[in-house]
Symmetry: C2
DNA sequence: TCAAAATATGCGAATGAGTTGCATATGCAG
DNA sequence: CTGCATATGCAACTCATTCGCATATTTTGA
């Protein structure tokens, strides 16, 4: 456990949004001003492999991250503002598993994003 | 409508899978041997913007394409083989719309991929 | 049918997120 | 403390995709 890693972990804990690696780099600098981007990339890869972090691709070119501990949820992206809204739906979870099963598979992972505009 | 574009369209029509730009380039060469990769990229971007093609990211680095649709479907990726299985579920479609509505949004787009391994 | 205007192409160079080699610095076990 | 294992910073690299530009093809419309 190094200074750089502690800085990144803290940056992550303090984040309520879904930051990308560059944002995390900036935020981690507050705790370790000399930290390099490469270290952020390496650390995020490590954390993801260890299952401590979830990596998302919301289609803006850069991967976005969040701590894995939270309860299972999916995301709705507000196309007007870019805001990311988290939601959880039990029926949906069950349905995903059931669909996989119907096709002869055990569901190991999934990706679900909804893109919408606010209802006027 | 140019020779290059016709070649790409034909390559796409003849494809039953979800080819990436490089695969399409190879396949299009059959109809226009001098076609350049840049043209494939440009044309796919155009087709996507026109809504004639759907672009997917199945997490292998390269974007995958298919004709915009036959009928609405989602994808299950067999993690053991990489095979892509298409499926359609009415309940799921309805549920996605309903969830968006519940959150105060009109659903404009969505992305759903299931990743699974064959049940033993 | 033809020439000019409009568009698309091929090529190679550029981009940008992410990765990696390597010399140095840091962390940790003894 | 010391020594070895591991992580870091930096710069160079990768790889998919985009772009500039000179040239070629298509389209327009007289
Ligand atoms: Mn989820
Ligand atoms: Mn779909
Ligand atoms: Zn989230
Ligand atoms: Zn498909």
């Amino acid at each position: 456990m190094t200074t750089a890693r502690r800085a990144i972990l803290r940056a992550l804990e303090n984040s309520e949004d879904h930051p990308d690696a560059l944002m995390l780099h900036d935020r981690a600098k507050e705790f370790d001003p000399t930290i390099a981007q490469a270290t952020v990339y390496r650390t995020m890869r490590l954390l993801e492999q260890e299952g401590l972090v979830e990596k998302h691709d919301f289609g803006n070119g850069r991967a976005r991250y969040e701590e894995a501990e939270k309860e299972q949820h999916d995301h709705l992206i507000n196309l007007s503002t870019g805001e990311i809204i988290e939601f959880h739906d039990t029926n949906l979870e069950a349905l995903k598993i059931e669909i996989a099963k119907r096709l002869g598979f055990d569901l190991k992972d999934h990706r679900l994003e909804l893109y919408g505009v606010p209802r006027e």
